[in-house]
């Protein structure tokens, strides 16, 4: 059981900086997810916590112990790798037992722990097999088993589900979540998949280009994205981002086609500034009455069953927007849809800095 403190963690490879002063405290027993596009530094951050990479500046502590100079094996952590990293020449049992043997545990104790983990993960029947004989899902379980037997104070997951097919991924996602809840071990999970991030994490860190874009619960990230990047990254289909200008009195956002949108609260300080307006596809309502603010011309329609997605452009300008309508809605290409927009669901970002404006 342990808290993890990251204090101004920096990492660079030669002249190339990958992490810029990351600060974060991960509480005991918490499940946190680091999410971001590929190359954002999320795996590097995880690997610095694991001790597989040395940090260039800052301090990492696990359970009140500064671990900067400790070897991975001394940090009381366990890690699950993307490609599982099972030792191909060892049986499942030996894979799980290897680390314990090196630590010099008693044979009985090793056997007890391995069997217990195998029961938890329902892989008892495979203990004698070699990893080659297992399916992707089974290998994944073995990899988790190897982590569990160490009884570490921290679990680290590096995109553990990305090699599985879609269905298995959903299933394993739930299992990991349940397992973490049951064991109550502090866990850090890295993924590029925002759905995985939202479903698994108590809290999320959105990382982009080595900087933290936002820290928060899934709901905070969805409802109040701190930056334009987070807004576009969280949610599927992703948020519509439109260029606009704040009117002189700060009450409206004006689009290039002279359409405009009243803001929930005026932003006089931003008068005449360029902003980016964010509208979630699910927050755009079709409203055939006179309350409609704007309208779009439909280019393409996708029926997903539970939802209907309509892609179209605002009349008079070429900004493309996506609508997510509940259930099956019969729309045709070329239809003009009048839209109603709830001002409370409008996100405004400074175009220059990408920061949220309120």
């Amino acid at each position: 059981m342990a808290e993890i403190h990251l204090n101004k963690v920096c990492k660079s490879y030669g002249d190339v900086d990958v992490l810029f002063g990351i600060d974060w405290t991960i509480f005991d027993g918490e499940f946190v997810v680091i999410v971001g596009p590929s190359g954002c530094g999320k795996s590097t951050l995880l690997r610095t916590i694991a001790g597989l990479e040395k940090i260039t500046q800052g301090e990492i502590s696990i359970g009140n112990r500064v671990v900067n100079d400790l070897e991975p094996a001394e940090r009381d952590i366990a890690m699950v790798f993307q490609n599982y990293a099972l030792y191909p020449h060892m049986s499942v049992y030996d894979n799980m037992a290897y680390g314990l043997k090196i630590r010099g545990l008693e044979k009985d104790e090793i056997e007890r722990r391995v069997n217990h983990a195998a029961d938890t993960l329902e892989i008892r029947d495979y203990l004698d097999r070699s990893p080659r004989q297992l399916s992707g899902g089974q290998r994944q379980r073995v990899a988790m088993g190897r982590a569990i037997v160490r009884e570490p104070s921290v679990f680290l997951f590096d995109e553990p589900l990305s090699n599985l097919d879609a269905k298995l991924r959903v299933q394993m996602r739930l299992e990991i979540k349940n397992l973490q809840q049951r064991l109550g071990i502090t866990s850090v999970y890295v993924t590029h998949d925002q759905v995985e991030a939202m479903t698994l994490g108590h809290r999320l860190m959105v990382l982009n280009g080595g900087y933290v874009e936002q820290l928060g619960t899934p709901i905070e990230l969805y409802e109040k994205p701190a930056t334009e990047f987070v807004a576009g990254f969280i949610g599927s289909p992703s948020m519509n981002l439109l260029k606009a200008k704040i009117s002189g009195d700060g009450t409206k956002a004006e689009f290039s086609d002279h359409n405009s949108l009243y803001l929930a609260s005026a932003l006089p300080s931003q008068a005449n500034r360029q902003v980016t307006i964010g509208l979630r596809p699910e927050h755009l309502m079709v409203n055939k009455t006179s309350q409609a603010n704007m309208s779009i011309k439909v280019n393409a329609v996708e029926h997903l069953g539970a939802d209907t997605l309509a892609h179209g452009e605002f009349e008079g300008c070429d900004e493309i927007v996506t609508l997510r309508l509940h259930g099956i809605v019969m729309i045709n290409q070329g239809d003009i849809l009048p839209l109603e927009i709830d001002p409370d669901k409008v996100h405004i970002f400074d175009t220059e800095t990408g920061k949220r404006l309120e």
Partner: protein, 281 residues
């Protein structure tokens, strides 16, 4: 095969069988010669079918040798075996270690060491025989197993092969091992060696043949008959044949000189082909 043309297929078999006959002819004739007695081997034309003196000849060659001054071939076979094993095991051991260092460690002069090893590719023993001989003589290694094998042990080829193999090993295995608490040598023994064992075996096959077939080097540094290898002895037998042609015994010795490497190649064909294509590409 794309289309079914019995005539073409028949042709293909015919050509291959012809090829096999050409390839096998010298070996067959040698085998036949080793199964006849001295008298039959002086009568023209020589036989093309085996005779009944195989074991007799084998016995004579193995334990008494050829001619009055010849040493027993059995001993030479043993010398050849020891030399081949020393060369193969030696090359593999030092190459595994140096490739491990070069691939898995960052340390000063790493690339310098790499190039130093690389240069040995360009120095086959044939082009540096005299000075190498001098070195071995100065070290007092003439007529010894060390002298036979050590100068042939450094090998850029094997180092390159293992370097290539190691580079193909997923990084995560090392990371997993480090998290499991394994140090460098533990990782080397427990993980790296077991997962590269087929590459090692394949290379062993190639190097065993290489070692067994060494000729010029043993010829130069052995003067003591008890250190002769069977391959180099062939030459002396051929010279002796000018005066007293004991072809049945000479050919029996020749047969013994090539039997072990042939057995290795044919018996471990898969490993052999793997080793051959891997070391050269």
């Amino acid at each position: 095969m794309v289309e079914n043309r019995p005539y073409v297929t028949f042709m293909a078999h015919a050509v291959l069988i012809f090829g096999v006959i050409i390839v096998a002819l010298p070996i067959w004739v040698t085998f036949v010669a080793a199964t006849h007695d001295e008298l039959r081997m002086t009568q023209i034309p020589l036989p093309l079918l085996p005779g009944g003196h195989f074991f007799e000849n084998l016995n004579e060659v193995l334990f008494e040798g050829v001619g009055s001054r010849g040493s027993p071939v059995g001993m030479m076979l043993l010398n050849s075996l020891i030399m081949a094993l020393l060369i193969a095991v030696g090359k593999i051991s030092i190459s595994l270690l140096s490739a491990f260092a070069i691939v898995y460690f960052r340390f000063p002069f790493r690339m310098g060491f790499f190039w130093l090893i690389f240069i040995t590719l360009m120095l086959p023993v044939e082009v540096r025989i005299l000075p190498t001989f001098a070195v071995v003589a100065d070290l007092g290694l003439l007529d010894s197993y060390m002298g036979l094998s050590l100068p042939l042990i450094a090998s850029a080829t094997a180092t390159f092969l293992f370097r290539q193999v190691f580079l193909g090993v997923p990084d995560e295995l090392l990371e997993a091992a480090r998290i499991d608490g394994a140090g460098p040598m533990r990782f080397f023994w427990d993980i790296l060696l077991p997962i590269t064992r087929t590459n090692i075996a394949a290379l062993f096959v190639i190097l065993f043949i290489y070692g067994w077939n060494q000729y010029l080097w043993p010829l130069l540094i052995t003067t003591d008959q008890s250190m002769y290898t069977v391959v180099m002895a062939i030459k002396q037998l051929l010279e002796a044949a000018e005066e007293t042609p004991q072809w049945h015994l000479i050919m029996m010795t020749t047969l013994l000189a090539m039997a072990p490497p042939i057995a290795v190649v044919v018996g471990m064909q898969k490993l052999f082909v793997k080793g051959l294509t891997e070391t050269e590409k």
